[in-house]
Every structure is written in C-alpha cells, then in structure tokens.
Symmetry: C2
Subunit: 493 residues, 2 copies
C-alpha cells in the first residue's frame, strides 16, 4: 500500500469515529433526556480523545513525507494537502494547552450561563481572563508555526487563507458605506406599516410548513431529517444531515427562515462529492464558505420577493388562513426585510448584521494580538456600538460583550465567517445571474438551475481548492465587497 | 494503580464506545433515513472492530492474573469475575472464525428476508448449511475451553450457568402438563365472546396512551424515551434507555402490551446500580433475567385484572370512547388472555409460547451437538409442531423452521431465554406476594411496592451474583417450573 493510500485509509477510519461523535452530538441536542447527559458527555469525551490520538499518531509525519514523493493526481495532491492540514491543526498545539483550554473554556461557559442574565461582568471577567490568556498562548504557538501574526493564526483554523490584511480591507470598505445605508433604509421603512403575526401557530403546523419549504429547496429527505433543538444547527454527516430548529408557537417567522438557512448548510453537506466521502478534501471548505451557502439560501433565495411569494402561499396553507393579511406577499416581504438597530447579533437583520460582526472582529483581533487587554473590552464595545449603531452598552454587559457564546470558550477568529459568508453569497448571485434566470427559477417553483450552479461551483468542489481559488473559479475574482454592497442597496434602498 | 483499577478503567473506556454503538443502533432503527445506511454501517463496523480490539488487548491476561492476587472486596471480586468473563467471551473464538460467521450470517439473513416470503427452503438451506457448520465449530472451541458439551457452551453466551441438564429437566416437566392445560383453556374460552377493536386508532393517540401507561409503570422519562421502529426493542444505555414500538392504526392492543413489555426491560436497565455503571458487573445478569423483567411487566402485571382495569380506563380516555364495549375491563381482559394455537412464535399467547420455545430448544440442542443435521430440521419441526400444538408445517417452511431470524445468523442458544424469563417471573411473583399485596398495589395505581421488590432483588443486583444465586437470594430456591405452572393454571383454568 502506498503511503498516500495508507493515509487515506487512516483518515477514513477517523471519519467513522467522527460520524459517531456527530450523531451523538445531534442526539444530545435533539433527543436526549437531561438524565442522559453524564454518560453521554463521557462517551463523547472518550471519542474526542480517541480521534485526537488517531489524528496525532506518530507515524503520520513519516507517511506525509513519503506520500509527498509519490506520483499523485491533482485531486490526490489536494487530498494530501487537506489531510496534512488537519494533521498540522491537530498536532500544532501541545496537548496540555489543549486540555487547559478545554477546562478553562468549559468553566467560563458554564458560569456565563448564569452570569449573563445577572449582568455579572466582574464574575465573568475572572474566568474569561484565563480563557484569553490561553488563547493568546495558542495563537503564539500557531503564529510561530505559520509565520503569521497571532490573530491570523487563529483565523486560519476557521478560514484557511484569510488574513487580517484582507479582512481589514474588506471591512473598512463596508464601514464607509454601511452606516449611511442603514439610515436610509430606516428612513424608507419609517413610512411602512407591517402586520405582525399574532395568535397560535402550532408546532405541528410549523413543522409541516418547514418540510414543504425544505422540499421546495430540494432538501434530500432520504439523506437527512428535520428535528427540534433549543439552538438550531446543522449536524449529522453528509449522507444523513440532521438539521434542527426551534418553534415559537406565537410566531412562525423566525423558525421558518431558520429552516431555510439550515437547509442551505444541509444542501452543501448533501452535495459534497461522494468520491471523497470521509476524507478531509471531501469536507466543506471553511466556516465562511459554509455560511455562504446558508446565507445564499436565506438572503439571496429566502428573502427574495419570488420566494416570499411561495412562503406566503405555503404558510397560508399550513395555518389555513388564506384571508389573514399577515400572510400576504407584500406583508411577509416587509417582515423579512425589516431593518432595526439592536443590541443582539443573533436577532440582527441582514443589513445591521455586518456592523455586529465587524466590531467583534476589531476587538478580538486586537485582543489576540496583545494590543488591548480583556478588561478593555466593555468600554471598546460601548464605543463601537455607539459609532456603528448609535447604541450605548455602558454597564449593559449582558446585551454587550457578554452576549455571545463564542468568546467564552475561546473561539476567537470565528466571527468574521458570518460576514464573509454573506459577501460570498452576494458575489455568487452576481455571477450566477449572468447565466441563470434566478428570479424566474424561483417564481417557477423549480429552483434546480440555481442549485446546479451551486453544486457545480461550490458543493462538488468541497476542499479541492483553496478558498481564494474556489471563489475565483466560481466568480472570476476573489472576494469583492462591492457585490455585497450592491445587493444590500438593491434590496434596501 | 492496581491491576484491578487498571481493568476497571479499561472496561469503562470500552463502555463509552459501547454507548456510541448502542445509540447509533437505536438511531438507525428509530430515526435514520434509508440513505444514511451505508455510512452508518461503516461507522458501526469500525466501532465494533475497535471494541473488539480493546476487549482482546494483549496485556489483559496479565492484568487478570495479577488482579486475582490483589486484596479485593466481595463486590470487587464479582466485578473481576464479570470482566474476566467478558474477556474470555471475546478471546475464546479465533478472529477468522468470528469474521467467517459474520459474513455467512449476514449473507444468510439477507437472503432469508426474501426467501422466507417465497417459502424457499432449498435456497435457504444452501446458506444456512454454512452458518450451522461455523456455529458447530464455534461450539466445539467453546466447549473445549469450558469442558462442556457443545450446546452448553453456546448457552453459556446468553445464560451463563444454565445447562442442557437443567433445561431438559425444566422443559420435560412443562411438556407433561402444558398440552392438557392448553386444551382446557381453549375449551373454557370456546364459550366466550370477545369484541375485537376496529376502527382507526391514531398513532398520536396510541403514543399518548403508551406514555400514560409507562408513567403508571414508573418509567423514568428523565432517563429514557419512547420512539417508533419497525421491530420494537429496548436500546440505549442505563442512564438513557430508548424503547421503541410499532403502531398499527387498526389495532392498539399489541402496541400497548408491547410498550408494557419493553418498559419492563427498560426499568431493569434504569434500575441497574450506578456504582457499577460502565462495568460488566453492573450490567443485566443474562438474556433470561432480562426477559424475566419484561415478562414480569407484561405477564404478571400487564395482563392481570387490576392492571387491565387501568388500561381500560386509560385507553378509553386516549381514544375518547368511553361507551365503546371494546374498552370494557372484561373485554380487554379476554383479549389479553386469549389462547390460540398458531404457527408463529412471535404472535403466540402466554400459554402456547413455551411450546414454541421448547421445540426450538430441542432442535438446536441436537443440531449443535451433531445429533441431527440441518436438513433434518423441517421434518423435525413438523413432527414437534404436530405433537405440541397439533399443527402440521409440512412444506410450509415460511411458517415453520424459517420463521425466526435467530438461526439465520447463528444465535443458537438464545431461544430458551424467553421461557426461562417467563418462569423466573412467575417465581418472583410467588415470593413477592408473601410480603407485597400485588393486586392491591396495582389496583391503587401506586405500584412502587412491586418495583421496590424488583429493584431490591433483581435490578440493584446486576451481575453481582451468578444467575442461580440471584434467583435463590430473591426467591429462596433455584428455578422451579412449578410456579410457572401454577401461574398459568390460575389464569387460564
Ligand atoms: Zn449558519
Ligand atoms: Zn423482551
């Protein structure tokens, strides 16, 4: 067996344990009764340890060295590159640091669950200090290995190839036009009247509506399911993708669009190439590219007028309320494109969302690079919220810098993915519409030309190319914020 | 760390992978879309290989030898005995034989799924021949290691300590009185009129009824769930027991009693001692003892008059049919104690069931011991069915020797467990009623005195004692078929 084949077999073995891990995680969120938590956590921890052991097995280094001398096809070279990338990610940080981070992160996150509602910054700060310190150690080790700045090394975990330099350029561009665009959109919407949903929307009816919507989006129910969990997510494995949502019986709007979003994640997974199943090269390219699929579904398809026309029909059917003006196309469109300045990122609309991300990026970048200290964060948060959305968070930690889970366990470098995803999605649309009648396809109810473009250009490409190459091959250029701006201006002005 | 402690840690590690395996198996039956099967099978096979590797790790032999010299408490000695037993079970059969059996068994079972409906004995025989041959090889190897007959060695897998000698005694006793008892019961029932359920019983209502019944039986929903699958079973792990059932919208009777049965299995699992969680000594004693719990719930509680009075109430509520005579106590009792001679074991009633088991026992015993050949089975089946239930299966293989899945993949030695379980259950009842007002407890709707007895005597004892000791400690004697006879006579005469 060649060293390349040996590596391939090894990573497929790892994927089988990851399959178990992924399904146990989904089950814990979607099915497991509370009393099952203790044994489940132990089982999942054991699987993690085992996967880590397999991922850092001593002979891998030699196999990689030798495989690089073997005659490989272009695809095999990509496969080798991605296996090696995962191996480096697994081995780069010493195990005692990983363990210390896991303990500090769990402690901080656990306490945060009660500290946030209590607005207890002082309590939080005591735990978070350690998380930040350990993340900086991690960033230092990674940056030395990669020859990059500490924050770039953290970005590399989620968005390989993306750098502070490129993000600074992209985001500073956005900052030049976003605030004014938000103001104009708000002005325009001031004169609008919206009828908000009220009354009871049963979980059963909402679920049926979700399933109909997923069918319109060609979710493959032979390779996946829709279930419920407190925090919606897309889990499972490519051949069996488990998406979840949360229903609010007082309002169907959020859950419905949440399902559209998760369906975007799911179709990416379902569309990954079978030929590379179980191998790193067969996985989704990055967090940002993943989000580009969910946001293409949510923002480019889901909130478009022709799609909302379908949602109007489907939801009026589901709730048997054809005369109710809530479900009128125009009204639903207003609901789904309403702009509002708010404190909370996860509640933010499409237009204000980037502002939330960019300020987090600026703060975590400087925090990891040692330019600021963790105790500076609340004041910076207040300052940046005032500058971008005109809201003060002074003393309001729970709706300020304590609102997200990401930083509690050290996921620094993740936030940019959200806005990168929205930008990629707008750029795909700009290219796609040169060859595909997007609105026409949505109107007709047969969206396959859209999905064919996504499949050809993104899904089937998995991790065969770097992100930059992937985007260039798909759209003829690397990421260009102009498309995002144009999309937002078209929709909101 | 002592060798005993090392072994304990090792078996706990194994239990974490078994946790994953168990949950993936449940998910495959209860949730997984068909398209997920391929990746799931690979993941489960990988976990099996890994568990087998851990279970046969070379240093275990030395640890066991040394641990036996260490100062251990009585409970630790039991724990060591059960770890060693699992180790021996895992190592006794050479891996190439295990693999050959797995391949032959899968092939035979897969083909059987279409051969059975086609009544294709000739096709089946060709595959089954190999399964029997390999099972005989396994039995030979096991018997040499244990110093027993080949069939006793197979029994030992499912019912450690149970021998052909004891089963011959028990079953030949049953054969002296069962046929006449069946005839008398049939005579008595001839004059009865039963109103059978008809109409639609929605899955949702049946599930709600099942949940109410499980609550009456004190199933702990904080440590388990009820779901649906084609073949009902009890899966999961002790802290999170997953039971399943199958609903027929034309009839609620079977699913309801099926839930009672699985709840018995579930409460045994839920009641296993936390102190030994993850260790072999903390597991259920044997298949027969497991079945003694499900059958205690189904036969001793579930089909008793006071319990059926509850079911009458609960089902009339669930289907909102208080006037319907189907749900009248008397009528439900008749339904649940109806005796009928039939071809199919899984459809058999409490009274004819042992006849089905005993003839399978006699055939598989002689087959494994080399007294008969696999080609003799159809004729023997016909002969024994005629003798015990007066039914001929000549040429009717699909409702004869091809009806069960057990033999298709070589699970010889399993069948006796069903009737052992029924006998144990009757014996518990005989002892329990000396100190517990069983009918009174059921009538009152608070069954805890019954569950306390089961918990004290069976659940909390897990595998601390041998089966014989467990039964003796619980009832003052080893298994005695007289209690079973008495129970049946009381109910059916
Ligand atoms: Zn997303
Ligand atoms: Zn059972």
């Amino acid at each position: 067996m060649s060293n390349y084949d040996q590596l391939t077999a090894h990573y497929q073995t790892i994927s089988h344990f990851n399959h178990a891990q992924s399904m146990l995680g989904w089950d814990a969120a979607a099915n497991m009764p509370a009393g099952g938590n203790d044994a489940r956590s132990k089982a999942m921890a054991e699987l993690s340890v085992h996967v880590h052991r397999l991922s850092t097995q001593p002979q891998l280094g030699e196999w990689f060295d030798k495989a690089q001398q073997e005659l490989l096809s272009t695809e095999q070279q990509s496969s080798l590159r991605e296996m090696k990338r995962q191996w480096q990610q697994a081995t780069i940080v010493p195990e005692d640091l990983v363990q210390a981070q896991s303990i500090a992160g769990s402690k901080c996150e656990h306490a945060w669950r009660s500290q946030r509602p209590a607005n207890d910054w002082e309590g939080f700060e005591k735990n978070w200090k350690e998380v930040v310190k350990l993340s900086r150690e991690e960033a230092k080790i990674r940056s030395e290995a990669l020859g990059s700045t500490p924050y770039d090394a953290m970005l590399d975990k989620f968005e390989p190839g993306t750098t502070t330099a490129s993000l600074d350029t992209l985001f500073s561009d956005v900052k030049t036009w976003l605030p004014e665009l938000i103001e104009k959109a708000l002005d325009k919407q001031n004169s609008q009247s919206i009828i908000m949903p009220s009354g009871t929307f049963s979980t059963a009816n909402q679920k049926a509506l979700g399933v109909e919507t997923m069918k319109l989006l060609k979710f493959d129910f032979d390779h996946g399911r829709l279930d419920q969990s407190v925090h919606p997510f897309c889990g499972g494995v490519p051949s069996d993708v488990r998406i979840t949502t949360r229903y609010d019986e007082k309002d169907f709007v959020q859950a419905l669009m949440g399902i559209v979003h998760e369906t975007g994640h799911a179709r990416y997974e379902q569309g990954l190439p079978k030929a590379f199943a179980g191998l790193p090269v067969g996985e989704a390219r990055s967090m940002g590219v993943h989000e580009s699929q969910s946001l293409f579904f949510e923002m480019q398809i889901g909130r478009s007028k022709p799609f909302i026309s379908h949602l109007s029909q489907l939801s009026a059917n589901a709730f048997n309320a054809h005369q109710d003006p809530v479900f009128a196309e125009e009204n639903l469109y207003k609901i789904y494109t309403q702009v509002e300045k708010g404190f909370i990122r996860v509640d933010a609309d499409e237009l204000t969302y980037p502002a939330h991300v960019i300020m987090r990026y600026e703060i975590e970048r400087d925090l990891i690079n040692g330019v600021i200290e963790h105790t500076d964060v609340p004041a910076l948060w207040d300052e940046k919220m005032k500058a971008s959305l005109g809201l003060s968070t002074k003393g309001n930690y729970q709706n300020g810098c304590m609102q997200d889970i990401h930083w509690t366990d050290g996921a620094f470098g993740y936030f940019p993915s959200y806005t990168l995803g929205a930008m990629y999605a707008a750029q795909y649309k700009a290219t796609m519409q040169q060859t595909v009648d997007i609105d026409g396809a949505i109107k007709s109810g047969d969206l396959s030309p859209i999905f064919k473009w996504l499949s050809d250009n993104i899904w089937s490409q998995a991790s065969l190319h770097t992100t930059d190459d992937l985007i260039k091959r798909a759209t003829g250029e690397t990421l260009n914020a102009a498309h995002f701006r144009k999309h937002l201006e078209t929709r909101y002005l």
